[in-house]
């Protein structure tokens, strides 16, 4: 069991925990704003997992400067790809959250309630 307790795995596990908490919140809360916040937590968890997956033990951030020099960089750096991907994912999460908030605002304007159970006009 101890071999699993690396820094990376702790990070990944934290990310998973957040994902599950976020999903649980998104599926059980009734208030629309809480649902949106839960999905934000879900997104954060996703991003943490992605970044944690990029880690290699004992290495530094992928930026070339005087301390790293120009040689043998592939032995010195962590994986830059997931970091790039997570940047995109964060922005996407922001976009979706913004749109969801706008929808929430509009829904409140229409019905004066933020309970998701009140928005069942189309069913069956």
């Amino acid at each position: 069991m101890e071999q699993y307790l690396t820094l990376q795995n702790i990070g990944i596990a934290t990310g998973f925990a957040l994902i599950l908490i976020g999903l649980y919140g998104g599926l059980t809360n009734k208030n629309i704003l809480r649902i949106i916040v839960s999905f934000t937590i879900f997104n954060s968890g996703l991003n943490i997992v992605i970044v944690a997956l990029a880690y290699l033990k004992g290495r530094v951030a992928p930026i070339i400067d005087d301390t790293t020099g120009l040689d043998n960089l592939s032995q010195k750096f962590v994986d830059p790809v997931p970091q790039a991907l997570v940047l995109t994912a964060i922005v996407i999460g922001l976009g979706v959250t913004g749109v969801m908030l706008a929808y929430a605002l509009k829904m409140y304007q229409n019905k004066q309630t933020l309970n998701i159970n009140d928005f069942k006009e189309t069913k069956w």
């Binding site: 994902i19 999903l23 998104g26 599926l27 059980t28 009734k30 629309i32 649902i35 999905f39 879900f42 997104n43 996703l46 997992v49 992605i50 997956l53 790809v81 997931p82 991907l85 995109t88 994912a89 996407i92 976009g95 979706v96 749109v99 969801m100 929808y103 929430a104 509009k106 829904m107 229409n110 998701i116 159970n117 928005f119 069942k120 006009e121 189309t122 069913k123 069956w124």
Partner: protein
């Protein structure tokens, strides 16, 4: 050639620039949008042409580096086709939504073009993370377009969509990154090793589950249904036609990475989505929601096809393209027509009748979507079913065909409503030109696609292509007056008969049936000459029916036979639907007909495994090898021939059809079932099913049908229903005769078929004439017409004597042979039943002639004249035919005997001049006729002689009865004439079959109602459904163990 990446750059640049526009430039923005999308379409089309004419595709490398170091896009044939569809349809959508776009603000237009651009990249990209990004773009853009609809439902639907989308894309992102962790790459083409790496299966599972959930599978698709219900019709069309195929293509792209058994699971879930969604669509009253269910179902079918891509091999493109194009043209067309009609209530759709072109379009789209010929989905479904059959996927075939039957149910219920719903004032319809023209283009599109499919399949010119062309021609000339069209159709049929005669010469059986269909068609068209006006919508479908029937006569393979069958069904459905009260019976007819057709299709799939695609009438299947196939085909044909239990569609359909359409639909059409049964019995040896001899069972069915049909006829007051039930009885005889399976039996069946065709057609035309003049169908309202309609009387008299099988007319020959055959076969009980039904037939035949022609003339019929000239002509021709047959039956029977294979058991009828002999007896028709004529002649002369001294009395003279007849009705003896019989024997005709089918349909609809409450409307619950579905998919794929 323009670099495909410019599709992206043009789209984005246009979007960004449009957001600059101020209020003053709003007007030109819509045009600017069209130009931009037009440019995108141009690029796609350019590549499509290039690759189609043999050019190579193109890999687009971005950033100057090759994959996997940078993202690449691909443009090969697949991508060219799909991006062309996306962009061109986008262009049409702009035209369709032009008024909305002109009033919308610039942000909406930017969002629209980004939606299109995002779809293009989803299709072209080869990088999994890039796919994720552009999938999100499409999702947000979709959420943006939901706002286009002006109602509030769109907002909550959009929110539910966003919740579901977040969950799905989260799973996809997780899977992608896990996949990267295990394989070190994000490029789809380089991820093939993923499932093999330890732990990689989990990553793949997450990706697969996300993609499958995105395809809106049943039942985790509540969010999608809400989208369709609330979105603007133009947006709904785009979702169905563009978003769904794009994601299917993504699944297709990922296929090399997905293991084979996972593919099969995905495919199977797709088929279930197809069946279940079509099932739930039946209970929908809201048109948009119904179309949503249908779109989800089509998506399922497409997913199933994609999942089977490896299995289908070479046929994959044919099947996939068929479904794709059908979805594109027909589904979008229905959505757009919905926007034109502008109502979700089925009852308001009658407004389409005001614009015949739109009505035609609607019919085309509905038929194309339902998978009827000549449209692409028909051929695609056939190929798919045959391929599934080759792999013995019977369960798959069953689910797919059941789903197709449900599809026909809701589509044709809708068609019926469109044709029959009352039109109110102030309909909300919007017939703007810019909405109609794109719909017309879609109609043209599906016709063009059908043309290509038919061309590809290389059908026989004379027997398939020419009939199809003839049918199309009648659609085109529908504006002409009825007189001209009648001449043209009769002429076309005659000429066609002349054309095919040399081909069929020598094959008596084919000649017989071709003759029945052709001559019957021509004769039943004669009364049409007395119709006035243009009679729109009759001739194309009459042509469709008759030519469809003709396709059954000499098909090269089973597909052609099936195509003729379905064409005939569609044509006759519309003919029946034209009747005044025909909506419900026509629907019932279509449903039963489609059910029979799908049973036939399943049988053909099984047959394909045994003997290939060759037409089943041309091959010989040895005994006891194909019991199930025989049974299934027998059921299908007996359904058309209205065997008892499957007959309940017949009386309604025949009775409610227009009076001069009924002869065609009943006398001529019912013989298609007979043709099928005859072919069945002659090509297949005797078969057993679960140890029972099928023919034995058929014999019982025939006997029961004969009694049942005749008994049901005797209580009818409606003239057409009576004759219709009589057809059921006659079919019983024919089925029974075929079941006897001896030489004599087959001869009887054929003889009876021809005879029934002659006298039934004759009776129906005559009845049509009477009804035309008296303006009623109820026999108790008629009476005493013998004086005013003497010719009709004679015709009906000849008809009923023939039907009853009394000497000297031709029917007696049939009866005589029948009883001899029964004795030779030793089926005594069934024989007794047939005998009994013959007697019962006397009862209703008497009722028919006496109620209508004998008795007292009604006041309102005093001025009635003989039936119109054009009604009389065909009747007289048929009467002459019967007289000829009565005197010289061997002219017909000897050629018929040559059809009978020598392999049949039993003895044949021996002829010696006019004398026919069997081991059990002999008979000479000529002698009988001479004797009877002599007797008749003597009696007649004696009567004439004595009536010189007769005293004429008026109708109300007390001499006629011992009562005081002030009003004619009270003396009408025919009303409720058989009340006593009803008391005694009425229990025999309790409508068991009708009740059974109605109970069955009630159960189905109740279950459907229960199931659709699964879609509670709560967006959170829909998100939960996604997780539940993922779990089920996990169990299906991995069998429960940890991957």
């Amino acid at each position: 050639m323009v670099n495909p990446v410019h599709i992206v750059s043009i789209g984005l640049a246009a979007a960004f620039l449009m957001s600059l526009a101020g209020k003053r430039q709003q007007n030109i923005l819509a045009y600017f949008l069209m130009i931009a999308v037009g440019a995108m379409s141009f690029i796609s089309l350019q590549w499509l042409m290039e690759i189609y004419s043999g050019g190579a595709g193109r890999e687009v490398f971005t950033a100057g580096f090759k994959p996997p170091f940078a993202i690449n896009l691909r443009m090969t044939m697949d991508e060219a086709v799909l991006t062309s569809i996306i962009n061109i349809f986008g262009l049409f959508s702009i035209i369709y939504l032009f008024d909305t776009f002109k009033k919308a603000n610039n942000h909406l237009l930017s969002i629209f073009i980004i939606y299109l651009m995002g779809l293009n990249v989803m299709v072209m990209t080869r990088d999994l993370f890039n796919l994720f990004v552009f999938l999100e773009i499409v999702a947000i853009a979709t959420a943006g377009m939901m706002i286009m609809s002006s109602d509030k439902k769109g907002i909550s639907a959009g929110f539910k969509f966003l919740i579901a989308s977040s969950v799905i894309s989260g799973l996809l992102l997780l899977g992608t990154l896990f996949g990267y962790t295990y394989t070190g790459t994000l490029n789809i083409d380089m991820m093939q090793a993923l499932p093999l790496i330890k732990g990689g299966a989990v990553a793949l599972f997450l990706i697969v589950v996300a993609l499958v959930l995105e395809t809106k599978p049943f039942p985790a698709n509540g969010w999608a249904l809400d989208l369709y219900t609330s979105a603007n019709h133009g947006v709904g069309a785009m979702l169905s036609v563009l978003s769904a195929p794009a994601i299917m293509f993504v699944v297709y792209k990922m296929l090399p990475v997905i293991p084979q058994d996972w593919q099969l699971v995905i495919s199977f879930f797709g088929i279930i989505t197809f069946a279940a969604s079509n099932y739930l669509a039946i209970r929908q009253e809201n048109i948009r929601r119904m179309l949503g269910y249908s779109s989800v179902a089509q998506g399922g079918l497409l997913l199933a096809t994609v999942g089977l891509a490896d299995y289908l091999g070479g046929s994959f493109y044919f099947v996939a393209l068929g479904f794709l194009l059908t979805n594109l043209f027909a589904k979008a067309g229905l959505f757009w027509l919905g926007g034109i009609v502008n109502s979700d209530n089925m009852n308001k759709w009658g407004i389409l009748r005001k614009k015949p072109v739109l009505l035609l379009l609607f019919g085309i789209f509905a038929a194309a979507l339902a998978g009827l010929p000549p449209f692409p989905a028909f051929f695609a479904k056939w190929e798919l079913v045959m391929q599934l059959g080759a792999g013995e996927g019977w369960g798959w075939i069953a689910i797919m065909l059941i789903g197709s039957l449900f599809e026909i149910a809701f589509l044709f219920k809708w068609v019926g409503r469109v044709f029959k719903a009352e039109n109110e004032e102030n309909a909300p319809a919007n017939f703007a030109m810019h909405k109609q023209i794109p719909a017309l283009l879609l109609g043209a599109g599906i016709i063009a696609a059908s043309y290509f499919f038919i061309d590809y399949l290389n059908f026989n010119l004379t027997f398939v292509l020419i009939p199809l062309l003839a049918i199309a021609a009648f659609f085109v000339i529908d504006y002409a007056p009825a007189f001209i069209k009648n001449i043209l159709l009769i002429g076309a049929l005659s000429f066609y008969g002349y054309m095919i005669y040399p081909e069929l010469q020598g094959d008596i059986m084919k000649l017989v049936f071709a003759g029945i269909f052709l001559i019957g068609g021509v004769l039943t068209l004669f009364p049409g000459f007395s119709a006035k006006g243009a009679r729109k919508g009759f001739y194309p479908f009459a042509a469709m029916t008759i030519f469809g029937l003709l396709m059954l006569v000499n098909p090269a393979d089973n597909l052609t036979f099936f195509m003729g069958w379905e064409l005939m069904a569609l044509g006759s459905f519309i003919l029946i639907l034209r009747g005044k009260m025909a909506e419900k019976p026509a629907f019932r007819y279509m449903l039963f007909s489609a059910g029979g057709a799908y049973v036939m299709m399943a049988a053909f799939a099984m047959l394909n495994n045994i003997s290939g695609a060759e037409f089943f009438g041309n091959i010989n299947i040895p005994a006891n090898t194909a019991g199930i196939i025989f049974a299934l085909l027998a059921i299908a044909f007996m359904l058309k021939a209205a065997a008892i239990g499957l007959h309940i569609w017949l009386p309604g359909a025949y009775a409610e059809a227009e009076d001069d359409a009924t002869p065609l639909v009943s006398g001529v059409l019912i013989n298609s079932g007979v043709l099928g049964l005859v072919l069945l019995v002659t090509s297949f040896g005797p078969q057993t099913l679960f140890g029972y001899d099928i023919l034995h069972i058929m014999g019982w069915i025939g006997a029961i049908t004969a009694i049942g049909g005749n008994m049901l006829a005797i209580y009818e007051e409606d003239m057409k229903r009576l004759i219709a039930y009589s057809s059921v009885g006659a079919m019983g005889y024919i089925i029974f005769a075929l079941a006897i399976n001896t030489k004599l039996g087959l001869l009887i069946a054929l003889y009876y078929t021809i005879l029934h065709f002659i006298y039934k057609t004759m009776l129906f035309i005559s009845a049509a004439g009477v009804m035309h003049r008296t303006k009623t169908r109820n026999m108790y309202e008629m009476g005493g017409l013998i004086k005013s309609m003497p010719l009709s009387f004679i015709v009906v008299l000849i008809g009923i004597i023939t039907l009853a099988g009394m000497p000297p007319l031709a029917g007696f020959a049939g009866k005589w042979m029948f009883y001899n055959a029964i004795i030779l076969k030793e089926w005594y009980i069934q024989g007794a039943m047939i005998f009994f039904s013959g007697i019962v037939a006397f009862l209703y035949l008497y009722k028919l002639i006496s109620s209508v022609f004998l008795g007292q003339l009604k006041d309102n019929h005093r001025k009635v004249k003989e039936a119109p000239f054009y009604y009389i002509i065909p009747q007289l021709i048929l009467v002459m035919a019967i007289m000829v047959l009565s005197v010289q039956p061997q002219w017909l029977m000897q050629p018929l005997s040559t059809i009978i294979p020598a392999s049949f058991a039993g003895e044949a009828l021996q002829w010696d001049g006019n004398l026919a002999t069997l081991s059990t007896g002999y008979w000479n028709a000529f002698t009988i006729m001479s004797v009877v004529m002599a007797m008749f002649g003597i009696l007649f002369l004696w009567l004439v002689y004595h009536s010189r001294k007769a005293q004429k009395v008026k109708q109300f003279n007390i001499v006629f009865a011992a009562e005081k007849p002030f009003r004619p009705e009270t003396t009408h003896v025919s009303y409720n004439i058989f009340a006593a019989y009803k008391k005694a024997l009425g229990w025999m005709v309790t409508p068991l079959a009708t009740r059974f089918w109605e109970r069955l349909s009630d159960i189905f609809t109740a279950i459907a109602d229960k199931f659709r409450t699964w879609y509670t409307g709560n967006g959170q619950t829909y998100a939960l459904h996604l997780l539940i579905y993922a779990f089920i998919l996990y169990i299906a794929i991995s069998g429960g163990k940890l991957l």
